[in-house]
């Protein structure tokens, strides 16, 4: 009974591009505490809704469905939109519950992948390189990151059509592969962080011990033990503090700011 419908209301490449474009600009534009990205999802689906459902009641119904709570990583969320469009194109209004379930089921796992790769690993790698060069006034690292962001933008655009054509198949087939890619990316990130500790934290102990005629510089004693001992110790202390129940990132920043001012003011540490 659907064959007549699918012929007249087919989703074209242009529709996919339009949804992609809308998702890019609108997914978080009306982000709010009540339903988070619901409005963005609705805005993305509006052309599809008006195309697929000529009846007013159906339109209202589907607009309501797509204005329900939704939250995922904006970079990878297009994949869900693509799958949704494929299903609604085939099944129409009957698929109402299916797509609602699909959205709820996939938004979490996709957010996990997107947040880890796009939200943490890429900024770790390129932010580290860029900041390392930037501290010396060299903009090349920053430009490198800029270039990567353009590549990401380009890649992002392939996800919605991929969701449309591949759909569920892909989620199951590549689940294990994605985990391995994520793990490998984390490995790379951790390696870079290891190198970051001694290179970007600039702190010295300017203290000088005086025993009669002999004076000993505290920093050179520490250096003989291990280079960058102070930065490593500071990272270890902060890491440990973050494990405390009442500690969070904002408090830690305030704490380190105050500690830096006090220790620097007293001349115990210096840049």
């Amino acid at each position: 009974m659907n064959s007549a419908n699918t012929k007249t209301k087919q989703i074209t490449k242009k529709d996919l591009f339009r949804a992609n474009w809308r998702w890019l600009w609108s997914s978080q534009i009306c982000w709010n505490y009540e339903r988070m990205m619901s409005t963005g999802y609705l805005y993305t689906m509006l052309p599809t809704i008006t195309k697929l459902y000529p009846k007013k009641d159906d339109q209202v119904e589907m607009m309501k469905v797509h204005n329900q709570f939704f939250n995922t990583n904006a970079y990878v969320g297009g994949f869900i939109v693509g799958m949704d469009m494929a299903i609604e194109e085939k099944e129409g209004i009957k698929a109402k519950d299916t797509v609602a379930g699909l959205k709820a089921g996939l938004m979490g796992p996709l957010a996990g992948i997107g947040d880890t790769i796009v939200g943490v690993i890429l900024p770790t790698i390129f932010g580290s390189i860029g900041a390392y060069m930037g501290l010396k006034g060299n903009p090349i690292g920053a430009f490198l990151w800029l270039a990567v962001n353009f590549i990401i933008l380009f890649l992002r655009f392939s996800l919605l059509p991929m969701g449309y054509t591949q759909g569920e198949k892909l989620v199951y087939a590549t689940g294990d592969k994605l985990n391995r890619i994520t793990d490998a990316a984390v490995l790379l990130g951790v390696t870079v962080v290891g190198a970051l500790i001694p290179t970007v934290i600039s702190v010295k102990v300017p203290f000088v011990f005086k025993l009669g005629k002999v004076s000993l510089k505290a920093q050179s004693i520490l250096d003989q033990f291990m280079p960058s001992l102070v930065p490593v110790a500071l990272v270890a202390i902060c890491y440990w503090l973050l494990g405390k129940e009442k500690m969070n990132s904002t408090r830690l920043i305030v704490l380190v700011l105050i500690a830096g001012i006090v220790l620097g003011g007293l001349g115990i540490l210096s840049k």
Partner: protein, 268 residues
Amino acid sequence: MAIAWWQILLLTALAFWMIIDQITVGILCNYPLLIGLVAGIIMGDMSKGLVVGATLQLMVLGVGTYGGSSMPDFMTGAIVGTAYAVITGKGTNFAIGLAVPVGLLMVQLDVLARFINTYFLHRVDKYIEADDVPKVARNVVYGVFPWGLSRAIPVFIMLIVGNQFVQKIVEVMPQWLSNGLSTAGGILPVVGIAILLRFLPTKRFIAYLIIGFLAATYLKVPMLGVALMGLAMAIIFYHQSGNSSHNQGNNQENKPKETENELGEYEN
């Protein structure tokens, strides 16, 4: 150096675009480094902007906005910090000392913007009932204004007021405080690194953390070199884990689960 009116306008526009960029295309403004660079170019001193941006960048390495949580807004901090660094000529560490509190205070405005958008959500609900598609669309787009203005207005005010005010502060600031601020600027990246290590499954990959550290300290490998080394190890890891993927399940348990805090600055 005093700030020119066109610089104030450009930086205000940058602040507006910055948050929109963050929630849409994500090219320029996801993180403080690139913002600092652009703010530096506007202020006519690119390298100062880079240094301010880079230092703030390192602080936020592990801080992300997941699940709609607010994070300290060091992008705004980078704009204001860069402007103050150039205006006062007091060096970047002084500016970072000012940028950090700015970033922390800006969290409140982020919350406000996300809250105001709820109003537009309810208007959208209303127009759905009326099946008024153009008005539904328009009200979604209105969300741009709470977002953009929540950054642009404070930056504008801080630049207008800061022009004279910050100069005064600099004049009366004692030497020990400048030393302290400078030291604080030097060690603040520690926070970002520690948060990042908490977020990542560091215990599982601790060997690679040590390898990265050794390469940078004892072998003096530059950062890009370390990244390439990491890439090589990542490729090896990927291929080897493919052969024994059935063992992977056990390893997952080592990942830290307590990455969310009560204020929700970062969560998994």
